[in-house]
């Protein structure tokens, strides 16, 4: 009898494949140990669900197609409380529907991963084309004070790698983690190398060890409480209401609410060093820094090379973790450069926290593009030339 990890290899197929970004997200989830997926089909995220529906039963996991995205997120949160690693996948309209349960996942400290293969909006927008219009909704879409973790891969391989990271962060910090790609990357096929076990980290949520004195929402120094799955005899009560460490509703107490909501935020912000991932490309000596993420960052890399050939001292900071926003990183860079160019496939979303971090220390130019087309190398270079010619 083969082991579970061996059966995963068998289910995923060849080590080197030529597959879509959506497929890579599904493969990453399976490698991370995901055994439960609930979702609702939506372009351009449907292939994630299709792959999960093929693979999970082979491994004895569970795939369930729910009636909508609200139910999908509800179902995976429920499943997570049985101890399973869980995921759903959607696009903008579905992500909008998920906002209330996303807040519930944050408040109840439920590990889960949400893939959003973005398309343009508002509303149904352009279903098959690429956009990054949900960046701020990810941050502030659900009501109330909260922090969120969000990762943005730039290629198919990274979609797999970062989906594993998303699961690890969800487990480590007991919180929903968002992985955002776009319709283009979701449907783009690239060479994908399935990593070997041992080449990547696997994290499991810290489990409760003793029933005596156990409080389900009491956190030590890590700020993350120990987890007791449903059915393990700990008799945990989980509520989205403001609750004490025992998990019982305490909706009229200002100190309890303050303590809880601050801890939920602090457990993310105080661990930002562990959560924040980025790539610095020729930023050591650059005068102009392109700050980019997702699909756009691919083209920016070419543009940095070409810019340097033309004598422009340009570099790129590629944000991989978008939330929590790497404020210090951007602030430090702002001290060293004359200008930042921020290309976004929206009308300007991440440019706002960038400006907030920069605090006027350098010029920040937004290069916004919507409608489904990527920034062309030409228009990025033009923007660079323009920035170079402008006086300080």
């Amino acid at each position: 009898m083969s082991t579970y990890r061996e059966r995963i290899r068998q289910a995923l197929g060849g080590k080197v494949q030529f597959v879509q970004g959506d497929d890579a997200c599904a493969y990453g989830a399976i490698l991370a140990g995901c055994t439960f997926f609930a979702g609702y089909p939506i372009t351009p995220a449907t292939e994630v669900a299709e792959r999960m529906s093929e693979i999970l039963p082979l491994l004895g996991g569970c795939y369930i197609q729910m009636e909508d995205e609200i139910a999908s997120l509800g179902a995976i949160i429920g499943a997570s409380w049985t101890g399973a690693k869980v995921m759903t996948a959607t696009s903008g309209p579905g992500f909008s529907l998920m906002q209330e349960n996303l807040g519930y996942g944050i408040m109840t400290e439920t590990p889960c991963v949400i893939i959003n293969v973005q398309r343009s909006g508002p509303s149904t927008g352009q279903p098959t084309l690429a956009a990054y219009g949900d960046m701020m909704q990810a941050r502030w879409g659900t009501h109330g004070d909260h922090e969120i973790i969000m990762l943005c891969p730039s290629n198919v391989q990274e979609a797999l790698d970062l989906t594993i990271v998303a699961f690890n962060l969800a487990e480590r910090y007991r919180t929903p983690v968002l992985l955002f790609i776009d319709g283009e990357l979701g449907h783009m096929r690239e060479r994908l190398v399935i990593p070997e076990d041992g080449e990547f980290e696997l994290v499991d949520r810290v489990r409760a060890e003793r029933r005596a004195g156990y409080k389900p929402f009491e956190a030590g120094e890590s700020l993350v409480p120990a987890f007791a799955p449903f059915g393990s005899g700990y008799r945990t009560y989980v509520t989205g209401l403001t609750h004490n460490e025992q998990g019982l509703p305490r909706t009229s107490s200002a100190p309890i609410h303050d303590q809880l909501v601050r801890r939920l935020s602090d457990k993310i912000t105080t661990h930002s060093d562990d959560i924040v991932r980025y790539e610095a490309y020729h930023t050591d000596d650059c005068e102009i820094a392109i700050v980019a993420y997702g699909l756009t960052a691919r083209t920016c890399r070419d543009v940095v090379d070409e810019g340097r050939r033309r004598g422009i001292k340009v570099g790129m900071l590629r944000l991989i973790t978008i939330w929590p926003f790497p404020e210090t990183l951007v602030a430090d860079l702002a001290k060293r450069v004359d200008a930042m160019l921020v290309p976004e496939m929206n009308l300007g979303q991440i440019v706002h926290p960038i400006r907030e971090a920069v605090e006027g220390r350098c010029r920040v130019k937004l290069l916004a593009k919507i409608g489904g087309d990527l920034h062309s190398p030409h228009e990025l270079l033009e923007a660079l030339e323009e920035l170079r010619c402008q006086p300080r």
Binding site: R189, E190, R298, R301, D373
Partner: protein, 178 residues
């Protein structure tokens, strides 16, 4: 080195399947870096279907086609639309039964893919005939790789048909190159 290949035609001619097989040949069987997309931009809308493959030795930044190194056109509409976005030395392959006029300064290689596929017994493998011709003329992927990728991408009962189509295309392309 970066090579940009566009395969275009009508929807339903298998241009995307062809591009996927080409990308797979490069990425999985030739060990190169490859990226396959469908068209970026409004020019793709309408009757023409277009799929792109970028093949490189290193990381691929911009995933689309600026100016093609290889263009395969299987319909007049697609040819007219995309023949402008090619490099001066672009290898252009058309099916003369579906592309009737090609008044451009490039050398155009006519390959009767639809007719060849028909003679092999099934018109659906016209795209595979084109892959054979493309491989012979451009050498963007190896013959071994394109064969392996084709056989890995089609159902078992169609393997022989596809192998014949690919070989016919390779032959047609080799004849053109000579």
């Amino acid at each position: 080195m970066r090579q940009e290949i566009r395969i275009c035609g009508f929807g339903g001619q298998g241009v995307i399947t062809g591009a996927v097989i080409l990308g797979k040949a490069a990425a999985v069987y030739d060990g190169k870096i490859a990226c396959q997309t469908q068209s970026y931009g409004p020019e793709a809308r309408g009757g023409a279907a277009s799929a792109m493959v970028v093949i490189a030795d290193g990381p691929i930044g911009y995933p689309g086609v600026h100016a093609a190194d290889v263009l395969v056109a299987m319909s007049q509409e697609a040819f007219t639309r995309y023949a402008r976005e090619v490099k001066p030395e672009c290898i252009i392959i058309v099916d003369p039964d579906t592309v009737f006029s090609w008044d451009i300064p490039h050398i155009v290689h006519p390959v009767r893919s639809t007719k060849i596929a028909e003679e092999l017994g099934n018109i659906v493998v016209a795209n595979i005939v084109m892959l054979g011709a493309l491989t012979a003329l451009s050498k963007v992927v190896s013959r071994e790789a394109i064969l392996a990728a084709t056989l890995a991408s089609v159902p078992a009962r169609f393997k022989e048909l596809n192998r014949s189509a690919l070989e016919a295309g390779l032959e047609a392309g080799t004849g053109q190159a000579a």
